[in-house]
Symmetry: C2
Subunit: 113 residues, 2 copies
């Protein structure tokens, strides 16, 4: 009986990229993840997941400009591809459909398509 997470880290990261928009670079993503989750992540885990997501074609990325701040190394900014968007959409639709069929949940949400 192990520690428990029904984890779909990738999906969460993908969503965070969408949420952060222009600010979607690994460190910020990790920060956001922690603030939204109370779960710690290592930056390396974020990087490797971001890579995996890119290999799958769900994210693309490009280097931004280096900023004139202390430590201002150039950031790699991630954006969701069309395929990523679709994957997210599909996953959401599917989940919602299941939730809707489960009596314990069906009451407290509504759609409008």
């Amino acid at each position: 009986m192990k520690e428990t997470k029904l984890g779909d880290f990738e999906e969460v990261l993908l969503l965070l990229v969408g949420i952060l928009d222009k600010e979607a670079y690994a460190f910020k993503i990790a920060e956001k993840f922690e603030s939204q989750t109370e779960r710690a992540v290592s930056i390396g885990a974020v990087h490797s997941t971001l890579n995996r997501l890119s290999e799958k074609g769900f994210l693309k990325s490009a280097m931004g400009e280096s900023t004139a701040e202390r430590g201002g190394r150039r950031k790699r900014i991630y954006t969701i591809t069309a395929a990523g968007e679709k994957a997210l959409q599909d996953s959401r639709d599917f989940k919602m459909s299941l939730w809707n069929q489960y009596p314990s949940f069906a009451g407290n949400l509504k759609f409008n398509f």
Copy 2:
């Protein structure tokens, strides 16, 4: 670049158990999975996932009565535990919160808590 699924098979199975209620036994679950997903599953994969879910304390199960049908072996009926219910609830809340923050999705759903 691999075949693509942001898969969280366990969560889906857990939900299917909730949806199927008294009918939640492995074969039926597999069937339901296929009908809702268009993805094939092997019954073995379902069994091992159901086991994992039970070890984690999200499901419990008991043998039902054998029915008087051809091949009517006794079925193991699964039910969601309180912990399972909570895990599902948490996962849903978290996802919804993320979706709500992502501009591409934020428009087309509403809550009422």
